[in-house]
């Protein structure tokens, strides 16, 4: 309570720190444009954004459970499950397929939520387990092969260009993202999820139906992952039981680098976009820069740890301990 004196200093740091992800992004862009002139080409920037748009939706989805202090490790499972199940039922690629992918994503997320909220199991293990289950279902349906969806309509969802030069997925994903940013910040649902992440017992006592909003958070996660799957499948023109590998860690890291704490209650869907951009720019730039993949891994580790360190500076005091 005697912190009042230091507060003025703190605010300044906080302002700078809020800019850390942006500074990292700009720094990366400058470095990469020197490393490879092609990096800064318009078409490559579009490529980065197109890749980001898929990551963005998935990461935005996962942000909801994380804000609540839970975690969703079933990203891969939901990507694979929603894509494959929908493509098995309706491989034609019409509006029905689109609807189906989203719906199945929602259902899979809902199932996670029910297990977490109703049987009261830790989300970490629930989603780890359902990840196995969803992947298993997908592999069983496809025997591991992929299902090509050869429909121009479907492909246009991602690859078409309503605005010349800019793929639809960027625009559509942007719209969906903004809607969900609004949902998380301006609506009751978003606020309750934050409250549960802050203090679950207080939230419950204040009359919030904690179980319901836990389920909603996981369902939203599922829905958004389903949405990401839609753009992913549309971009590749296929659904596959191997599609989602590698999304888990990248999205979790994007969420954290964006400034959402894994302990819940801090951060927001809005900030996730910065984390996503850092990750995609890093990957794209290093690939174009011709950096050995193996060294890429190491560079990525340093940059990620470094930026999380910088982001968390204002929220820590000397006596803080880390888990």
């Amino acid at each position: 309570m005697t912190a009042d004196v230091r507060k003025t200093k703190k605010i300044d740091i906080k302002k700078v720190v809020n800019l850390v992800p942006v500074i990292v992004i700009i720094a990366l862009m400058i470095i990469f444009s020197f490393l490879s002139p092609a990096f800064i080409r318009f078409r490559n920037l579009v490529e980065i954004l197109q890749l980001s748009s898929i990551y963005l939706l998935i990461a935005a989805g996962v942000t909801f459970p994380i804000l609540m202090g839970s975690i969703d490790l079933s990203i891969t499972g939901i990507i694979v499950g929603s894509g494959v199940i929908a493509a098995t039922i309706a491989p034609v690629g019409g509006l029905f397929t689109v609807f189906l992918i989203l719906f199945i994503g929602l259902c899979l997320g809902l199932f996670n939520g029910l297990l977490v909220a109703k049987i009261k199991l830790p989300s970490f293990i629930v989603t780890l387990a359902t990840n196995f289950i969803y992947c298993g279902i997908a592999v069983a349906l496809t025997e591991g092969y992929n299902i090509n969806i050869r429909s121009n309509f479907f492909s246009n969802i991602s690859n078409g260009r309503m605005i010349p030069g800019i793929p639809n997925s960027i625009i559509l994903a942007g719209v969906v993202y903004i809607v969900f940013v609004y949902l998380s910040e301006k609506t009751k649902t978003g606020r309750y999820i934050m409250a549960i992440g802050g203090k679950e017992d207080v939230a419950a006592r204040m009359g919030i139906n904690v179980a319901k909003y836990k389920i909603i958070a996981f369902a939203l996660s599922g829905l958004l992952i389903g949405c990401g799957t839609l753009f992913l499948s549309a971009r590749l023109g296929m659904a596959s039981a191997r599609l989602g590998s590698g999304y888990l860690f990248n999205t979790l890291i994007a969420v954290v680098v964006g400034g959402t704490a894994l302990s819940g209650g801090v951060g927001g869907v809005r900030r996730t976009i910065l984390g996503v951009l850092i990750i995609t720019i890093l990957e794209n730039g290093m690939t174009l820069g011709g950096i050995d993949v193996r060294i890429q891994y190491m560079v990525k580790a340093v940059i990620l740890i470094g930026s999380v360190f910088l982001i968390s500076i204002p929220d820590r005091s000397r006596q803080d301990l880390m888990k």
């Binding site: 309570m1 005697t2 009042d4 004196v5 230091r6 609004y182 301006k186 609506t187 009751k188 606020r191 309750y192 934050m194 409250a195 992440g197 802050g198 203090k199 207080v202 939230a203 006592r205 204040m206 009359g207 919030i208 209650g265 801090v266 000397r318 006596q319």
Partner: protein, 510 residues
């Protein structure tokens, strides 16, 4: 209070918890505009009664009437919407949400625009208006974690008013469960002046372990013991000691601080010397000398830097300049482990956060600081036999009402505090730094803790006691230091015979 208009009535309330009957056939009446005090020892059922009224718990039997209408709240939310709100002992705010978000939490339905989006602006404006009205100097659009403790408590009271207004109730009943436990003198007064002011439009029901403030501010005090209502006290005609006796059910010593047992001939040997300790803007040039076997009381207003000083001495935080010597040797700053090695212990004010480990057994909590001493040097194997002897000894000595295997969270506040005390004393310390050792502890337990302190001092332990409670400060200390705005404003002896009065000390505080 002449008209005595009945606001709320409860008849034959009974509530059972597994193994205990928390409330047994309690009848209570609350009149408008009054401040009703509820008192009793920990476990007497005060909080339970409040929670039943607020709708947090459901009663097993009995009935409640609010404004002559049957009142049967399903949950706390329904209680609030009917005009009964509660300010909980463990604060009921979500720290990461903004002030206004907390105030309207779970009642947002009044602010949803057609688009489904919340009308943030109105919510903020409304909150701001109320904050001004209630003289809360806080920004509604900031996280409540940045509010001071006092502000947070007021926010909860404001919430009660605000929600009543939303539901069209112009006279809320606000239940305050130990609102002042963690507040300093000045803030306490501020709070009560506001409560008194608000009581024009509301009715309050108050629980406090500080009997003096109940005597000062309450219109009536009901006393509970073992879940039953044992009587009512009119503060105007009785004195604190009557209340004591009624609560405990036996005659309580008037000398709860054990002044008669105070030993002023403590040894000359200096166990701790603090020289010129300074942290810019927090405390400045502090010099303390602690003799063996003495209790040095450190008082001052909240924010005067006394608690920060305690933390810095113990090594939780660092200081800019100065030095701390324990038993004549210099101790590196910011090193708890070095302090503990010098056999210095620290009892924090926030018991739950820093004192006990809730989900570990009592036994493990007690042996934690000494665990490496109980282990052999090479393999670090804990000597179970020695550990058990130690634990049993201290559970017995400190009269902790729990078995060693009980999880700490299931203990009452007083017993938890005794565990914290026991874990340090079990380590066979030289010095112990206490930060508000009896915060949120009931009278009975307080008395026990004080007598334990007297005991250990007699054994040669030195105590540096930081406290917001003036009476405690005066009653226990051999010597008193008062801090004001980070500097020592007064040092004086408080020998058995020469205890200063409250007013004398307050002068140096402000």
């Amino acid at each position: 209070m002449n008209e005595r208009e009945l606001l709320f009535r409860a008849e034959g309330i009974t509530k059972k918890f597994p193994g205990v009957r928390a409330l047994n056939d309690v009848n209570i009446e609350i009149y408008t505009n009054e401040i009703l005090g509820l008192s009793g020892e920990n476990g007497a059922g005060k909080s339970t009664l409040m929670k039943v009224i607020a709708g947090v718990y459901s009663k097993d039997s009995g009935r409640m009437l609010l404004n002559d209408q049957e009142y049967r709240p399903e949950n706390y939310r329904e209680g609030t919407s009917k005009g009964i709100s509660m300010v909980f002992q463990e604060q009921n705010l979500v720290p990461n949400l903004y002030g206004y978000e907390n105030i309207f939490l779970s009642h947002e339905k009044f602010f949803i625009k057609k688009s489904g989006v919340l009308d943030t602006r109105t919510m903020i404006d409304k909150t701001k208006m109320y904050f001004e009205q209630f003289e809360i100097d806080a920004d509604p659009a900031k996280r409540v974690s940045s509010y001071s403790f006092h502000q947070r408590q007021l926010v909860e009271i404001v919430r009660a008013f605000m929600i009543s207004e939303l539901y069209g109730i112009n006279h809320p009943l606000i239940l305050l469960d130990e609102p002042t436990a963690a507040l300093a003198e000045k803030e306490r007064e501020l709070l009560f002046s506001q409560v008194t002011k608000f009581s024009k439009n509301a009715t309050f029901c108050l629980i406090s372990h500080r009997l003096s403030e109940m005597m000062t501010y309450c219109n009536r005090i009901m006393v509970l013991r073992d879940g039953e209502l044992v009587g009512e006290v009119d503060p105007k005609t009785s004195e604190e000691h009557d209340l004591h006796t009624m609560m405990v059910g036996r005659e309580v010593s008037r000398d709860i601080y054990g002044i008669s047992k105070q030993d002023d001939d403590f040894q000359e040997e200096k166990v701790m010397e603090i020289k010129g300790l300074t942290e810019e803007g927090v405390y400045k040039d502090i010099n303390i000398e602690l003799n063996k076997g003495m209790i040095l009381g450190l008082g001052g207003l909240v924010g005067c830097g006394k608690r920060d000083l305690g933390k810095a001495i113990y090594g939780i935080t660092e200081y800019q300049s100065g030095s701390v010597l324990v038993n004549g040797s210099f101790v590196k700053k910011g090193k708890i482990s070095a302090m503990v090695k010098q056999r210095v212990g620290y009892i924090p004010a926030e018991r739950k956060g820093f004192g006990i480990i809730e989900y570990l057994p009592v036994s493990w909590n007690i042996s934690l600081p000494s665990i490496f001493e109980l282990a052999n040097r090479f393999m670090l194997k804990v000597d179970r036999k020695r550990e058990k002897t130690l634990i049993d000894k201290y559970i017995k000595r400190f009269r902790i009402k729990a078995s060693p295997e009980d999880m700490c969270y299931s203990l009452s506040g007083g017993n938890q505090q005794k565990v914290v005390l026991a874990k340090w004393i079990a380590k066979n310390l030289d010095i112990v730094i206490l930060d508000n050792p009896t915060r949120g502890v009931d009278v009975g337990a307080k008395e026990e803790i004080y007598s334990l302190l007297r005991e250990i001092v007699k054994e040669g332990v030195s105590v540096l006691m930081i406290t917001d409670d003036l009476l405690e400060l005066i009653g226990l200390s051999n010597q008193i230091m008062i801090m004001k705005e980070g500097q020592v404003s007064e040092i004086r002896d408080a020998g058995k015979a020469s205890k200063p009065t409250e007013n004398e000390l307050v002068r140096y505080m402000v």
